[in-house]
Subunit: 202 residues, 2 copies
């Protein structure tokens, strides 16, 4: 039922779908997931409540699709990690950009609301991980693997754990908000982590 709307309605459907995704991300930023309602989403998107219910059975389902929507947007922002041959410079550039993005209200508020919902709801959390988190982490694995081939990272290090020395502190500090996400902070993270990953002097 939900995937078999009349073909003539395709354009309208696409426009409404886009408006609903946008309205969901805006509203979850403004009021948080617990107070998000389908009524408010429909009103903000300028569609009837029944239009929303035709495609999604619950606000959780809308939110999951909105996460995918945010992912697709983020893909345009989260480029591959550059490889200039200078691992520290490349990681510093990426972590500075990530910190700036995470600090920006346009991303911070919906991403924070979604993260909170995912932490409390294991099913949604697993979708956030597979949709947003792991693809991003994989970029770090690939950049560190290239650095290892170039002799800049010691052999035998578990790169999947190693990358968390970079991303874990930044992400947790963002979620907890206990201290600012400054460039000085992300630069220090990169310096400390890379000290640990570098080959030991012979």
């Amino acid at each position: 039922m939900s995937s078999n709307c009349a073909p003539s309605a395709t354009r309208l459907r696409r426009r409404s779908h886009h408006a609903i995704m946008g309205a969901t991300l805006e509203l979850v930023s403004e009021v948080g997931y617990p107070k998000l309602t389908i009524e408010a989403i429909a009103a903000r998107a300028g569609v009837g409540k029944q239009t929303v219910y035709r495609w999604w059975p619950s606000k959780a389902a809308i939110l999951r699709d909105a996460v995918v929507h945010l992912c697709q947007d983020a893909t345009g922002v989260t480029r591959d990690i550059p490889d200039t041959g200078d691992l520290a410079a490349d990681l510093k550039a990426v972590l500075r950009a990530a910190a700036d993005t995470m600090s920006h209200p346009r991303y911070d508020l919906p991403a924070r609301a979604l993260a909170a919902a995912g932490i409390a709801d294991a099913t949604l959390g697993a979708e956030l991980v597979s949709c947003i988190l792991e693809p991003q982490l994989q970029l770090y694995v690939e950049r560190l693997a290239a650095a290892r081939r170039a002799g800049q990272v010691a052999e035998g290090i578990d790169l999947r754990v190693a990358l968390e020395l970079l991303t874990g502190p930044l992400a947790f500090r963002w979620l907890m908000g206990e201290a600012p996400l400054s460039h000085a902070y992300t630069d220090t993270l990169v310096d400390l982590a890379l000290r640990g990953l570098a080959p030991r002097a012979a």
Copy 2:
């Protein structure tokens, strides 16, 4: 009003207070913060709804006090980080214990619900940080400072950032649930982080 109950009611008050805190932590584990209600807390605690309202104006206020309650419990668990002189062994012991605690449903479920609520609500989040997070992180600062005095950590390293190489990955992996909190994982974290903190060979 809330702090001036009749003296003769002290014992009953204390018992009810304790029951309400326990009920709140149980219920937030079971249904999550959004579905937590004062009615359910009162029923689970075996007190009247008015008893709850006499002391707390809202479920947010109850939850904040329950966090303090959980803190006090956790203080018995989170001992100081040992100082045997072997920094790696001491940190591995503490991080293994932390991973075990975080994986245990008794702690995992309420702590996860509280973290999610704190991430979505800046006021509650700030209380979680000052009540739970920063005191724990301070223990790492102190242990790393002792290690630096013993020549095991390089001079000039920002210890407040350095400790996040240990705690950030573990906490973020716990929140996202994307991979298990094994002892092999926490041991690897300690090894990689300490490689980065150790004094460089002359």
